[in-house]
Symmetry: C2
Subunit: 193 residues, 2 copies
DNA sequence: GTCTATAATAGGATAGAC
DNA sequence: GTCTATCCTATTATAGAC
């Protein structure tokens, strides 16, 4: 890919796969559907991903990991106080969900859950994504003066709670779970200061 | 079904559907696979569920709702202190996950996520399940003396966090997210006492 | 690298005998 | 209520021309 010519075919395929699997899961998303959404042909998909759907799913999760990591970094840096920053994360997740009419949830959850126990490559990619996001939260807490072990433990719960609240918000079509989660996480963080 | 003759066909089908969809999601689970697992024929499945796979998924989620509600009630009643009871919930979820080699997560999440935005009946069934579980936690907190509104808000975060931590535990094949979540939820509850 | 055609298989759903 | 056979469509993946 030369610069200035738009996205390359491979990149378009990965993005389409990531977006579609985020909404429909692994089994609910067809390779043909991905190729159409990416404006690529089936031949191109198998050219770039000879490992087929599984290899494509791994790349899609990696893309989702990057995408959400950037959002997370942005939100975490937007507030001077780390507790307020986590509230911003929760609220922004709610905005994104509502704007997509409650279909664009976590970019890895659906794919990871649907392939549990039968696609180790996909599971490892999902585990890497969770670990990365947790690492970003932990780093933000350490930068605010929290001790190493406290920051690590809080990061676990921040990511778990945001994931669960996003899931609940999606299912109930309401931002309430995320708003409540933001408030409670802020209190939990303040408690460990 | 007369008593003493074991489970009826319909019940076997619902249980098999619930268990398979819990592990593989909606699109990853075939009706033929369900009929085999339930020792029933395809004709019987469509006899009891003329609405096809969607109607079956709604019944499967209803079954999962009941199943987890009973576990939740049991664990919540096992400890005199509500904070300790929530810790027990988190730890028991971890045990269940590990015993299933990390495949039996929440009985509704996978199905609900994979059908977001395209199967309203399934979404509503999933929303009912979440609301029911939240109600059980809220009732336990009220019984321990928490004010109505405090109990309601805490119940949101308890369920969200348990869901998210179970998800993280499943993906990372480790009980750590659930153990950390239990400790943090206990502190959060104590904080509102 | 891209494209079309096709193989091989599995999916949901239905019909009708029993 | 149960069972089998079958229709129709969609799926993943491959082959080979360009």
């Amino acid at each position: 890919m030369k610069p200035g010519t738009g996205l390359g075919t491979r990149e378009r395929i990965v993005r389409a796969a990531s977006h579609l699997m985020q909404r429909q899961g692994y089994d609910g998303t067809g390779i043909k559907q991905i190729s159409v959404a990416a404006s690529a042909t089936l031949g191109s998909v198998y050219h770039f991903f000879p490992g087929g759907k599984q290899e494509l799913a791994v790349a899609a999760i990696g893309h989702g990991e990057q995408e959400f990591a950037h959002e997370l970094e942005h939100w975490l840096a937007a507030e001077a106080d780390p507790a307020a920053a986590v509230v911003a994360c929760a609220n922004n997740l709610g905005v994104g969900l509502r704007d997509s009419d409650w279909v664009d949830g976590c970019p890895v959850t659906s794919t990871a859950l649907g392939t549990a126990g039968r696609a180790p490559d996909i599971q490892e990619a999902a585990a890497r994504a969770f670990a990365r996001w947790r690492g970003l939260v932990a780093a933000r807490l350490r930068a605010a003066g929290f001790a190493e072990d406290v920051a690590t433990e809080l990061a676990y719960t921040v990511i778990s709670t945001l994931e669960g609240a996003e899931l609940a918000a999606q299912v109930e079509r309401s931002t309430t779970p995320l708003e409540v989660a933001g408030r409670h996480l802020a209190r939990l963080i303040d408690l460990h200061r």
